[in-house]
């Protein structure tokens, strides 16, 4: 599998580190709900189809990207930079 880093270009996925489900949303810090925190840590949709996931280009420019990947065909639909430098790259 190859990912197209918005800074470095197309690279082997071994240059990247998987950083988890990009759709998981951390509950607000003042949330007292154990269920909300439990869901954030453990509950995943595991879709057959398009999945949004965070990858870090650890062996390259170290940018975090959100990859939209089809879990059935492994097609990479998009790789978008996130974080404070995302707009510097576009």
């Amino acid at each position: 599998m190859r990912l197209t880093c918005p800074y470095c270009g197309e690279r082997d996925h071994q240059e990247f580190t998987y950083r988890g489900d990009a759709s998981a949303r951390r509950p607000s810090l003042d949330s007292q709900s154990i269920d909300e925190h439990n869901a954030y840590v453990f509950d995943r949709a595991n879709p057959d189809g398009i999945h949004h996931e965070l990858w870090n280009h650890t062996s390259g420019c170290r940018t975090h990207v959100v990859v939209a990947r089809n879990t059935v065909t492994h097609e990479i639909i998009s790789c978008d930079p996130v974080g404070p430098f995302a707009k510097v790259m576009k």
Partner: protein
């Protein structure tokens, strides 16, 4: 003033000059940097850092190494101090890497071929033009590749991994014949 101790090569006698046993497809060499510095801008100071870097004088090589980040080599000493004066911490972070990297150079008609045997990036001049820089890895160890010519590259290797890397590049070069300059 205390004299600076002379920098010693971490490769020691590994990279002693020697002629190729047959026709050499590649020439290998080693170089210690007089100055090697990383500069990282803040997200809102990228333009200011670019401007500061454009005023640098001397034998300077500026290699983009990430968003708002550059690796800069100077053929004379003292670049870190000069950059600290131009780039205060409110504008960017200046990190001296002079002792943290060794430059291993490879040149010759088979350079692309030898590098491609262990480094998974496209080395063709279309994908990797002369003067550009690529950040990648070799067996999971980070590596910066700077293309200095059609058939020549400078590889910025972590000092502590340089002996292992040198041994690899010699083994990889055996296929096409190599000499050490």
């Amino acid at each position: 003033m205390v004299d600076q101790p002379e920098m010693l090569s971490p490769l020691h006698d590994l990279a002693m000059p020697r002629a190729a046993s047959d026709t050499a497809g590649v020439e290998l060499g080693e170089r210690l940097c007089a100055s090697l510095v990383q500069v990282q801008a803040w997200p809102n100071t990228v333009g200011r850092v670019e401007k500061a870097l454009s005023t640098l004088k001397g034998e300077i090589t500026i290699m983009p190494s990430g968003p708002g980040r550059w690796l800069i080599e100077d053929e004379s000493e003292g670049l870190e101090d000069r950059l600290r004066k131009k780039i205060p911490s409110a504008v960017g972070a200046v990190t001296g890497l002079t002792h943290g990297r060794v430059v291993i150079s490879i040149s010759g008609r088979k350079s692309e071929w030898v590098l491609a045997s262990g480094i998974a990036i496209d080395f063709s001049t279309d994908a990797f033009p002369v003067g550009e820089t690529r950040l990648t890895h070799h067996h999971e160890i980070g590596l910066t590749v700077h293309r200095t010519g059609e058939t020549s590259f400078d590889l910025y290797v972590f000092t502590s991994f340089s002996r292992a890397f040198w041994q690899w590049i010699e083994r990889a070069g055996e296929e096409v014949g190599y000499s050490v300059t």
